[in-house]
């Protein structure tokens, strides 16, 4: 999701910067500005790719594992029975690409189980499965 977003934004930014600089200071400056912005976009794209690739989740019998992070690697193991509620959100950009983010909340503020950029159908499936499992394995505080 982010990849497309960054690529589009980078291309747009390059065009805008190029034309603006070109109008203000002549064609060479315009070309240079466009090149700089395009390169910046590529670098960002590289970071985002790595970030997205590092994000993974595994549904096990009793818990959900979410791994993420490139520089700081994090892995959360959240038992289904500990789930308080599941959030499915989709921002405007996510909606444009028919994606959604699933977030698991436990009673601990630090439990960090967020899975962004899921296909909408997959997000719905995961939500229902988590809700069902959470109910089946619920444990009190």
């Amino acid at each position: 999701m982010r990849q497309v977003q960054v690529a589009a934004a980078g291309l747009g930014g390059a065009l805008v910067a190029g034309t603006a600089a070109g109008l203000a200071a002549g064609a060479p400056a315009g070309a240079a500005a466009a090149a700089v912005v395009a390169v910046a976009a590529l670098v960002t794209l590289w970071f985002v790719r790595r970030r997205v690739r590092a994000w993974s989740y595994t549904e096990r019998d009793d818990d959900l594992i979410v791994a993420r992070g490139v520089l700081v690697r994090r892995l959360s193991v959240v038992p289904y029975g500990r789930m308080q509620f599941v959030d499915v959100t989709a921002g405007p950009v996510e909606r444009a690409f028919r994606l959604a983010t699933v977030k698991l909340h436990t009673a601990a503020a630090a439990s960090d189980a967020r899975i962004p950029g899921l296909e909408r159908a997959e997000a719905a499936r995961l939500r229902d499965r988590l809700a069902a499992l959470g109910e089946a394995k619920a444990a009190g505080l």
Partner: protein, 425 residues
């Protein structure tokens, strides 16, 4: 209406006075100030008077429409004039009954009763105010009914576990602020040494700081004065307070974690502070600090007392601890000397801290999630940290800077151990 035939009771007639006490005092002070300053030109006094009268009338009406009844298995509280609110509190689900005495109420011999039910952290039923004797009696009745005994059964005796003498409390507060004052003093001396012409300004700042510190210290002392921890059948009972006294009961099954804190200056004396984290959000019930989810179990006491209390609350022996490998010193040079962690089948414990040692101990059955985190520096040393999160904000035991392979194995093992612990619980 107080007819015992229907079983309905009113609160004490002085309740409105105590309830609106604070606001009334504030309004009176306002009137006094405006009058003293000669600002009140008749009209404004009138408005102040009207406001005071409205508040008083509201409190009286609130008293008039509030009634309560204990009939067998339920405690009913009805209140509200326009929006009638009737609560049935099933005695079987009562988790704790707290007796709170704010200063004004205490002066008039009144007390507030707060009833907490299972599954919520705030007071579900509040009876403010009852005569002290009646409050204690009702409390005993509720607890007896809760345990299925004859309502006339007297409240079972509680065993006092620890008491904090006033001298030690004051000493501990002085010691924990000493370091702060020392830092400020050093800063002052440096500033004055470097820029002598700032002497007056620096002196003024010091006075301001001390004035700012004083209320904080006073607050700690007045809140934790006469601290008594006792073991009662329904949980751990804590009594404390200098002007307002609070008696609260913490059901043991709601405890998520215990924490022992040993500040630098306390360590030579062998003192520690023990805190517990209780489930639930700090809700709307913010009066008198009974709603905080992190509570002191022992504001200051000897380490042996601290350990005894922690063992009692967790109901187990502490697990064997082990230190992280020596190479962790590179990543955590200031805290390496304290770092240690360990787990057994029922509990886990982690020690962290740079200047003060913080030992967190939690039952595995309460763990909400297990997290494995490794930052860039940790990875270059092939270390990782395992967090065990319990309910609440920042409640966790950390296995900090363990070897990467051990950490990965720990994450798996702890997840499995937590599962079995949960099933046992």
């Amino acid at each position: 209406m107080t007819g015992t035939a229907t079983g309905w009771h009113r609160l004490h007639p002085l309740s409105p006075l105590v309830r609106s006490g604070r606001t009334a005092v504030g309004v009176l002070a306002l009137i006094g100030i405006t009058a003293a300053a000669g600002l009140g030109q008749g009209g404004s006094h009138l408005y102040d008077g009207i406001i005071a009268a409205l508040i008083a009338a509201g409190a009286v009406v609130n008293w008039l429409v509030t009634r309560w009844r204990l009939d067998g298995a339920t405690l009913c509280i009805e209140t509200g004039l326009l929006r009638r609110d009737s609560r049935q509190l099933p005695v079987a689900r009562i988790q704790a009954v707290d007796v709170v005495r704010p200063f004004l109420a205490r002066a008039l011999g009144l007390a507030e009763l707060r009833v907490r039910l299972a599954g919520s952290s705030h007071a579900d039923g509040r009876l403010a105010y009852l005569p002290e004797q009646a409050a204690l009696q009702l409390r005993a009745q509720l607890l007896a009914a809760h345990h299925g005994l004859d309502p006339a059964t007297p409240e079972p005796a509680e065993a006092i576990l620890a008491q904090v003498p006033a001298g030690r409390l004051v000493g501990s507060v002085a010691l924990s602020s000493t370091s702060l004052v020392a830092v400020l003093l050093v800063a002052e001396v440096v500033v004055v040494f470097e820029y002598p012409w700032l002497l007056a300004a620096a002196g003024g700042m010091l006075v301001v700081w001390v004035l700012g510190l004083a209320p904080l210290l006073w607050r700690r002392i007045s809140l934790e004065y006469g601290f008594t921890v006792a073991q009662a059948p329904d949980g751990i009972r804590i009594r404390r307070g200098l002007l307002s006294t609070v008696a609260e009961t913490i059901p043991r099954q709601r405890v998520q974690a215990v924490r022992m804190i040993e500040p630098l200056l306390w360590r030579p004396l062998g003192w520690c502070r023990v805190e517990i984290d209780v489930a639930g959000s700090a809700g709307r019930d913010h009066a008198e600090e009974t709603s905080r989810t992190r509570k002191a179990l022992l504001p200051v006491g000897h380490r042996s007392t601290g350990w005894q209390l922690m063992r009692l609350v967790i109901g187990a022996e502490p697990p064997q601890l082990s230190a992280p490998p020596r190479r962790a010193r590179l990543k955590a040079p200031l805290s390496y000397h304290f770092l240690a962690a360990g787990a057994d089948r029922a509990t886990a414990m982690g020690v962290t801290g740079r200047i003060r040692r913080v030992t967190t101990w939690l039952p595995l059955a309460k763990v909400q999630s297990v997290r494995l985190v490794s930052g860039p520096v940790q990875r270059s040393l092939s270390l990782a940290t395992v967090h065990l999160d319990a309910a609440g904000r920042d409640v966790r035991a950390e296995f900090r800077d363990r070897p990467a392979a051990e950490a990965a194995r720990l994450t798996e093992d702890l997840a499995a151990l937590c599962r079995t612990a949960r099933q046992r619980a």
